[in-house]
Each structure stands twice: as structure tokens, then as C-alpha cells.
Symmetry: C2
Subunit: 187 residues, 2 copies
């Protein structure tokens, strides 16, 4: 197997670098990870994914599968774990691939980079990822259970006049003081 996947995956390294802005170590690991998950799951009619970190890995899934953040076929769990599940949307069985820290120990720069133990050069981490390919992963077969996606009622917020899910209450999340990220600049 060694050396055989890089060539097969070249198109994704290029597409991924363009989409993500650069080839980060996380994206590179992610491309090998999605590829392995796809191989184990085999052909299925409809495949969804759950990604267990917000960092880098979602972009590997978005360029290699029909699942995107905006179409809802990719669910992101903000667990900070470098793992993902590809699963059959109908049958709900799937495969979960994860970065195996015991195996990662064989790649000292990668190991130190991932655990933030020491400053390491990105090129050295990338070089080890390319050498490792699938050798840093383990996987398990899983059955997936996610909460149903409900499309509830929509309300108009009496404060800002914008539409929001009625389940939030009368006010939208921002006007209700639940969260915020901007101040309006009045000119």
C-alpha cells in the first residue's frame, strides 16, 4: 500500500489546497482519512458524514464527498477530535476512522505537532504525513444516530424585523442577548 495512495489522491491535494487556501497538515491527514473511510464503506447510494473537529478536516470531506456544511450532509461535532464517520444515509451503518495516537508515535514530528508538545516545522510534519499515508489511522464500524432535522416555524423578531426560528422565542438570538459578534456603525 505504501506510496500508492498519494498518486491516486493527487487531484484532491490540488483541489484541497485551492479550496482551503493551502495544504495544511490537517487537510493532508484528512484527505488520506476520507479516502480510507470511502474504501472501507464501499459504494453506497447516499453517504453522509460526521466530522469530529472544526479544524481542517471538514474541508477534506467537502472536496471529496457530496457532503458540504451548507447542504447539511456533513455534520460537524466540535469535539476537537481528529476523526470522521462516513455512513449510509438510509441504513445508518458506517465507518469511523480516527487518528490513532499510538500509531502516530512512529512519526515524531507529526506526533509533537498534533499534541502541541513542541514547535515543529510544517514541512517536516507534512513530509511524515505523506510517508505515513494510512499508517496513522484506526477504524471501527459504527451505527449512527443523529437527532432529526426539524424545520420548525419561522418568526419575525419584533426588535430587528428579521426572520428567525420561532423556537428561539419572540426575539432572535442576537436581540435576545444570547450571542453577538457585531456592532452597527452609524455613519
Amino acid at each position: 500500500m505504501s506510496g500508492s495512495r498519494k498518486k491516486h489522491l493527487q487531484v484532491y491535494f490540488e483541489r484541497g489546497s485551492q479550496f482551503h487556501g493551502h495544504l495544511s497538515p490537517g487537510l493532508a491527514i484528512g484527505i488520506f482519512m476520507v479516502d480510507l473511510a470511502q474504501d472501507i464503506l464501499g459504494p453506497r447510494e447516499l453517504v453522509d458524514t460526521v466530522v469530529e473537529t472544526k479544524l481542517c478536516l471538514p474541508d477534506a470531506a467537502q472536496i471529496m464527498t457530496p457532503c458540504t456544511y451548507g447542504n447539511g450532509w456533513m455534520t460537524v461535532k466540535d469535539w476537537g477530535k481528529f476523526a470522521l464517520t462516513l455512513y449510509d444515509k438510509e441504513k445508518l451503518d458506517g465507518v469511523r476512522v480516527y487518528l490513532d495516537m499510538e500509531k502516530a508515535k512512529n512519526y515524531p514530528h507529526l506526533y509533537q505537532w498534533y499534541l502541541r508538545l513542541d514547535q515543529v516545522k510544517t514541512e517536516e510534519v507534512l513530509s511524515e504525513i505523506m510517508e505515513a499515508e494510512r499508517a496513522i489511522f484506526s477504524w471501527e464500524k459504527v451505527r449512527v444516530k443523529l437527532p432529526p432535522k426539524e424545520k420548525g416555524l419561522v418568526s419575525i423578531c419584533p426588535s430587528c424585523g428579521e426572520a428567525h426560528p420561532a423556537s428561539d422565542g419572540e426575539l432572535c438570538p442576537r436581540c435576545g442577548g444570547k450571542d453577538d459578534y457585531y456592532q452597527v456603525i452609524t455613519l
Copy 2:
């Protein structure tokens, strides 16, 4: 302006349909929305985005800007509001464009679809979106404040052996019972 944006944006309608899987009404509105935000903000060296819904709109941002979910330049707020902010990553000033429900009233199928008041045909909604272009939006200038992205310590979960943010405590979110989405199938 009427009719002039569709042609200019044709490449994004095609790329968006491919990335998202199909041209949904939300994606189509999103393409006009990102385009308007880019026009108002004008050229900046580095532009980040905050999207206020998980549905469809993030994909418009991902295909039209360098911001993706996995590279962290796109932040998604799960507010269920059809709005987004493009902002200068250095200066933190930006423009927030939102779906203006008062203006949307001029497009009855779109209005009914968005507020889920009645069953409407997707083609009729899409037809009104293409007619409306920017006529359903309002915008405001904003100053953005997001919490800093901290890269904290990483721990190994003593239960599953996988790495996770140390800030979660000893156990990872799944082993600690905070969240879950799968059962392992033992063969």
C-alpha cells in the same frame, strides 16, 4: 441594476450547484448576497466572514470567497437568520447583508417559502429570486468582535485513547457523556 447580476454570477450558480448538489433557493439568495457584500466592502487584503445560519448560505460563502468552514475564515452562527457579514480581518470593519422581510413581501412565493407559511414550488421561488436579485436585501456597516481562537493543550482521553482538547477535562466529549452520535458495531 436589474438583470445585470445574474450573468456576472453565472459561474457561481454553476459552481454552487455542483458543490451544494443542486441550486437550492437558499444557495441562490446566498450568491446574490455574497456578491452584494463584496461590492459594498470593496477590495481588502484579507476578508473573513460570519454566516448567521447553517442552511445553504455557508456554501455560497465557501464558493465565492477564500473562507471555508475548515480553514476557520468562515464562522457560522447557528442563529437561523439569513444574513452574513464580510469583514476586514485586520481592521475588523465590515458589511452585514440580511434578507429584508419587508422587501421580500414583494415576492410572494419567496416570502411564503421562507416563512414556511404554505407549500410553494421550488421553481417558483427560484424564479422570483432570479427576478429579485439584490432587491430583497438591506445592509449595514458593522464592527466585528469574535472571541480569539485559542489553541490550547491537547490531552489523550484515558477511556478511548484518542486526543482531544485538554480544556474538556480528562475525558473526551464522547467518553465524558457530553454528546454522542454513534455506537460501535462489534463484528
